[in-house]
């Protein structure tokens, strides 16, 4: 069964450093999402992406964040200058987009630890 994959599974970085989290969505999917879950809290929407542009972003997704689909398969989330409060689990998700009621398939997540 096709699945969403994410790398790395765990990323440790120093505050102020740039990180890139990678996702490979399911191959025929067209809509992509990033969510995050701070330890002990709920899953929060960050950004949605379609046709090589952002569809919507939350207030969490400030200028330090960016997304791109550089090669037609990977979908990346970049945090330009990490802060302690960026420590969280980051989930990528994708949907096929063939109707208005699609299931989102989630990846296993990347645990980001900012020291």
């Amino acid at each position: 069964e096709p699945e969403v994959t994410q790398t790395p599974s765990h990323q440790v970085t120093q505050m102020g450093q740039e990180v890139i989290l990678r996702c490979v969505p399911i191959s025929n999917h067209l809509y992509f999402y990033w969510y995050r879950q701070i330890l002990g809290q709920k899953v929060e929407f960050l950004v949605s992406f379609y046709n090589n542009e952002i569809s919507e972003k939350s207030e969490i997704f400030d200028d330090q964040f960016s997304v791109e689909r550089p090669d037609g398969s990977n979908f990346t989330l970049k945090i330009r200058s990490t802060k302690l409060e960026d420590s969280a689990m980051y989930f990528c998700a994708s949907t096929s987009g063939t109707s208005g009621s699609n299931e989102q398939f989630f990846g296993p997540g990347t645990r980001l630890t900012v020291l």
Binding site: Y35, V43, S48, E56, S101
Partner: protein, 116 residues
């Protein structure tokens, strides 16, 4: 904007007990409804979903949920829980028909602990 409330933060049950986890949502339009489960150390997995039709939906592992539109509720049920059901359960909604941006809004989650 939609919002989701899960009023049970932590539920502790013995094996074989019946389970009902509450979920209420707020949104002015038609929604799709989901329950996700997150086992310790694992990622989100879809338990069940409601898009339209029969308001009683059945999912994996013996779970079911009932959509009651008049109460804006989508409670999760299981008649007899097992120790392996210990996990975090998240209710989520998205706006129906919002093509290209079906972002999910999650509730705060309910931690379920099953005592053997």
């Amino acid at each position: 904007a939609q919002s989701v409330s899960q009023h049970n933060h932590h539920v502790i049950l013995s094996e074989a007990a019946s389970l009902e986890l509450g979920c209420n949502y707020s949104y002015g339009g038609t929604v799709n409804l989901f329950w996700y489960v997150q086992y310790p150390g694992q990622h989100l997995q879809l338990l069940l979903k409601y898009f339209s039709g029969d308001p009683l939906v059945k999912g994996i592992k013996g779970f079911e949920a009932e959509f009651i539109k008049s109460k804006f509720s989508f409670n999760l049920r299981k008649p007899s829980v097992q120790w392996s059901d210990t996990a975090e359960y998240f209710c989520a909604v998205n706006a129906y028909g919002n093509f290209g941006n079906e972002k999910l809004t999650f509730g705060t989650g309910t931690r379920l602990t099953i005592i053997p």
